[in-house]
Symmetry: C4
Subunit: 287 residues, 4 copies
């Protein structure tokens, strides 16, 4: 199992970065220098204007997601990449109502998941955000706790455990797949151009050890359809930027809810008529 | 299979039209003339004020439809007829969040589906909007991706494929019908004056070739109840103007969601009691 | 079958009324007199201020009801009593989006359902509003087309038709009852003080002849729990004033949606285990 | 059965309290003295600013809860502790639309449930709020009437009555438990740190005698997961402060709705395949 590569140490010489971490006042070259810059060449970060814009957009996205009922009870977390080298993410602090976060309340975390700017704790799930960003080059990661995401991931994982043929490694490192196919909405996922497609969303067992969970997730992210399910927990969706991540989130949540409705109908159809769905004739259901 | 008649070439002499394509500044007769006007007599288009009003209304309609959860993930598309001869439609560009489009961001497409004003691409589905407008004289076409529309269209099409007696041409050019009857809300569809009615919403197989899909749809549009379903895809609703199209959309989406609930109940009722629904006596369900 | 008493002729001498029909300018005693006042003593109507307040409240109520998805596609209608003797109702005109009506767009209808002030047509269902107001002394009547109201009324009526023992007069003048019991929310209905209650909401067959439907409804209104269902159509809820009517509407719609969920559960429970619900032991469902 | 201790008599000498009950004007020492202060030492109450803030927050919370559809038809009630010794709660008056209460309309009730400031009646359920505050040291109690809370509590209680092994005291003082386990959202409940948990929400029979209901509830509150269900009635959720109470409410309502969906799926799975859920093979449901 490949390990997620260690992130480079955070450059603590702010003078080398062209942006301001709080989105307000830019750092200047006059600030005292700290440890030498890391050996990885640093990209210039976003300008102050872009940083402020990203903060506003992330807060607006979280408010919209909360409005959908997808991050109740302070659940969920949402990140944007502020800078790639070294890696810095913009996120809400842990344990707050994500629907009410103001731009200045966002925190910046580094490639180890440590807070390097702002007040509050970083969520432990930051490690999974970092893994997704590293493996997929995503620019934003959105993690929700929706009804459909929680239910379908649990159902799929439980079913996989009982039916080992469906599970690639039927032990604790196992993975199951929730398949959705033949729907137009699949085309909302980057790279899918026809409804005659099937996506298999990887489903991992939930795990409070986020380092371990991130390492399990890592190898499965590149081929994933911009989404990953954690059983009985929820969905991670991502995209090249916040806009694409939001589109992927809406598409995947739609597909999960649709799959739930399909499941009800499939089970009901099979129930009454053995293995041949829908043979009761047009009389009952033929309208 | 009758072909959809070729649209007349777009009149490229703007001086002949009385309105402004961007809803802002009217064209004047002093602008240089281009190719000769088409042989089809041109109607005067909407005035600048009407054009601006239509833009505002279309954006407001899309925001309301997005609020309903009917066009997530940049799905769906919505058009108004700006001018009939030659045909010009006002639409949102493809691939944008339909809930956030501003009036000035709308595009104008011609009778061939080409963008003739504004930034962005026209959706491939524009061809189906054009077919509906030509066959039904609709003034607006609203295409949604709702949960009920996606599920019921798929279910109906699959059922039709398995039960050829229900399908008129049980091959790829086949069509199925989703029937809804005996509901007061049917009266929201133009021409229906009593609940003792049944509407049959045509259901076509999904197809990424929108030209072919539009040609299949064409012959079925005139007798359709202001709506058409594409299996596993969604609903097209239309009306003489945007207001009527919105009413038809709300009515049809209501009927689809109602049909879904009816289906759950019907299947459950049949399940326990053979062919006689609801004979378990008042004890269990008699309240 | 008792007939609904004929309403007294509208007093067409506006000088005798103390209020203004449009909520704006009061009538004066100088206006020409018309036919003699009816023999029924006239109450003074609401003052101009009260009339304006009522208009605002009714529009706000309709916007909130539309927000709930209870009057889509211009369906539904909502009335307040403006004056009792002679009877005058304030309503939205027929065929408009009830969620967007402005106070000045409301119409006033008389005791025969004729528009006596404002633009637009009165809904045919005005006759049922009038019947409810006369039989129950209601001050407001709210008629919705919700998913649960449409489905449960249809299911209840169909079940009643098949099981004559449940239906008092099992012919076209028949009536069925939807019973809801043992829920705390029942206490939201005036006169109900304990959850150990059962309400029986009368259900009538739908009928496009609203005069006939109103006459059928009449005898059943006094004992009804502030609500009446029309099969496959929806709910009428009422109260002494608009505030109480809104409370009754919310309570009854809650009970209908709850009854739907109960029904799913009841049918599923019976399905698997014969006549003894829920005997599969704690293992499956015992959590 | 231990009784809830009698609350100390309300200190009716306002001069001894440092805050203003209406959140506006502080009481002064010049006001006439009443009975001697109680023997329990009085804590200084919140300052005027804090009192006003609490009023605003409570009204905002109620508006958000009403927006969720969790307190329709004037149902539900919501309290914050204004002062501990002697106990004073801030609440909305009984029988009002909780979504529209303004800060100045809130009432203050004492430890006996009597209104000591403001207009309107205190809900009878105030006694249960007081019991919860006393037993758990909660700073806020939120009581909702949601669809899931009403349905699941009723289902759980009925099931417990039929299956005495599940009920600790299978008589009228009995209690049942709704168990939810293995979900990440459980971590939103204070003290729960892993999804590998199970919470058992106590369910009591509904009772119009709130004194008796509160005494039954008392012994079960300390070990409850910040929530209590009353059968066919709804949920009480609480927390150390309003913010924590809101988080607990959202978490518990999420878990109830999730449990409902799980229940549908469980029952459907068992239905077709005896005691072994989900053995029909991947063909039907294996996606």
């Amino acid at each position: 199992m490949p390990s997620v590569p260690s992130p480079p140490p955070l450059n603590s010489n702010p003078a080398a970065t062209a942006f301001s971490l709080d989105g307000k006042s830019p750092r200047t070259a006059n600030e005292p220098s700290g440890p030498k810059p890391s050996e990885v060449a640093e990209e210039p970060g976003p300008s102050e204007v872009e940083g402020a814009r990203l903060r506003d957009e992330l807060c607006e996205a979280m408010a919209a997601i909360h409005q959908r009922g997808w991050c109740d009870g302070t659940g969920g977390n949402f990140s944007c990449v502020l800078q790639r080298q070294p890696l810095l993410l913009l996120m809400a602090p842990s344990g707050v109502d994500k629907g009410k976060v103001k731009p200045q309340e966002l925190i910046v975390v580094d490639g180890d998941g440590r807070v390097c700017h702002g007040s509050g704790r970083a969520s432990a799930e930051t490690l999974l955000h970092l893994a997704i960003v590293r493996e997929t080059a995503a620019g934003a990661v959105l993690h929700t706790h929706s009804q459909a995401g929680t239910l379908l991931s649990q159902w799929c994982w439980e079913r996989g455990r009982k039916m080992p043929a469906l599970v690639e490694n039927p032990d604790e490192d196992g993975i199951a797949y929730l398949e959705v196919s033949d729907l137009e909405m699949l085309k909302g996922i980057a790279g899918i151009t026809t409804h005659r497609s099937a996506v298999r969303i990887p489903v991992l067992a939930n795990d409070q050890d986020l380092g371990r969970l991130s390492r399990r997730a890592g190898p499965n992210l590149e081929r994933a359809p911009a989404g990953l399910l954690i059983a009985g927990h929820g969905l991670y969706a991502w995209g090249q930027n916040l806009s694409e991540a939001r589109r992927h989130l809406e598409i995947l949540e739609f597909l999960l809810e649709q799959r739930w409705r399909q499941l009800l109908l499939e089970v009901l159809m099979v129930r009454g008529h053995g293995s041949a769905p829908d043979t009761e004739g047009p009389g009952e259901l033929g309208r």
